[in-house]
Amino acid sequence: MKNYLKMGLTLMLFAIAVAVLLSVVYTITKGPIEDAELNVKLQSIKTVLSNPEDEELMIDENQIPESEGELKERVWKSTEEAFLYESSEYKGYVSSPAYKFSLKDGKPAYVVTGAAVGYGGYVTVMCSFVGELSNLEMMRIQVLDYSQETPGLGAKIAEKEAKERFFEIPKKALEDGLQVDKDAGVAAAKTDEQVEQYKEEGVIYISDIMTGATITPRGVANAVNTMFDYLKKELGGE
């Protein structure tokens, strides 16, 4: 009996010691972790609001949020629930909050974060949509979370060349829903002009960059479609 008590107490002491140490490390890293997460978010917002061709900011320099507080001022729609919108058609969702900025030329820009199913789980994408509902365009995307995608295959989605194939997409193409070239069954694009031409038709030509990985770009296309549906619903109702 005495033996058991001793063993139990020893085990408890070790558990307490480790728990105390862990709480210390947790307290120390809490700030840096929040900073790191926020930085990624702010950086992505800045990227999707820059001109894809020359990387120049499309909004006023001092409109770019640089802290949690400034970011909060930009919130356009938010909800207490997990998602702002869910799409059963595209198996995607739009997460809260969505942000609104106004571009230098006066057009409104909506920065929305959404996700759809990829190869190993949800692929999370941040998108900027520009313009009024009547001529809404998708300007730029940033892939935020692709940690479940295969490195070297699906994870190529985060490379610049792959992301560029997703923008800019005009409203007409968004209206029909984006598709990747494998699903659309189109012929191989030989020139850059042809790639752009496909974009007009709502076809994302990507099989030359991401050979062997169709599911991940399909997930991104579906995430964009979900976000567009959401914007259409929100802006249409206004």
Partner: protein, 214 residues
């Protein structure tokens, strides 16, 4: 001193945790899609192994034999969580790529194995050398595995392009590629070990013969 060197070099080649002992197969197969992923995972494992070996070696006389395994697990799990939190805060990009596999270090049998079979029976200095040797052997194995798969599958090594896309064999990046590469490399390591042993035996035989004649 030669004794201490032996503790260190043991894990590098002769008893390499991956290729000879076949320990920690889960992270080995899953994270080695590229050389840099392998290196990151190897370094995270090395850190946890080093810290847990030190602590377990210090407390080895305080822990009753019957509850040693739960105590080791508490310590290892604690260190893994700390590494996870620290990487999340300070090495965000690496943390993001390794993601799911960091918590899995807890169940890497290499770490519990070294705690049980080495650190719990030896002093701190020897345990540190053992952890460094085994940890570097593990990390080295992951880097080799990752590099081979990256070269054959994506035509790059540590992100540096070697040749165009045309020569790439995609299966090397997918799970089957991990098994194929691991099998071939384990075969190579064992072949080197066996042929060394045989050469040694031959030498001894020859020495014996020469000695007998004299």
């Amino acid at each position: 001193m030669s004794g201490t060197m032996k503790e260190f070099s043991n894990g590098l080649v002769k008893n390499n945790p991956i290729f000879i002992q076949a320990l920690g197969m889960c992270p080995t197969l899953a994270t080695t899609t590229s050389a840099s992923n392998g290196l990151g995972m190897g370094m995270a494992t090395l850190t946890v192994l080093l810290m847990s070996n030190i602590v377990i070696s210090i407390i080895r006389k305080l822990v009753p034999a019957k509850i040693r395994i739960p105590v080791y697990i508490i310590i290892i799990a604690g260190f893994v969580t700390m590494v996870d939190l620290l990487m999340h805060g300070f090495l965000y990009d690496l943390w993001k790529t390794l993601g799911l596999f960091i918590p899995l270090i807890v169940v890497n049998c290499l770490i519990l194995g070294r705690a049980e079979s080495y650190a719990s029976q030896n002093g701190i200095w020897k345990s540190i050398l053992d952890a460094l040797g085994m940890g570097l052997g593990f990390a080295g194995g992951l880097v080799i595995l990752g590099a081979v798969r990256e070269i054959l599958g994506a035509g790059t090594v540590f992100g540096v392009e070697l040749w165009g896309d045309a020569f790439n064999v995609f299966i090397m990046i997918l799970p089957p590629g991990a098994f194929i590469t691991l099998g071939l490399l384990a075969g190579l390591f064992n072949w080197i070990g066996i042929s060394k042993e045989e050469a040694k035996k031959k030498k001894q035989k020859a020495a014996k013969k020469a000695g007998g004649k004299a």
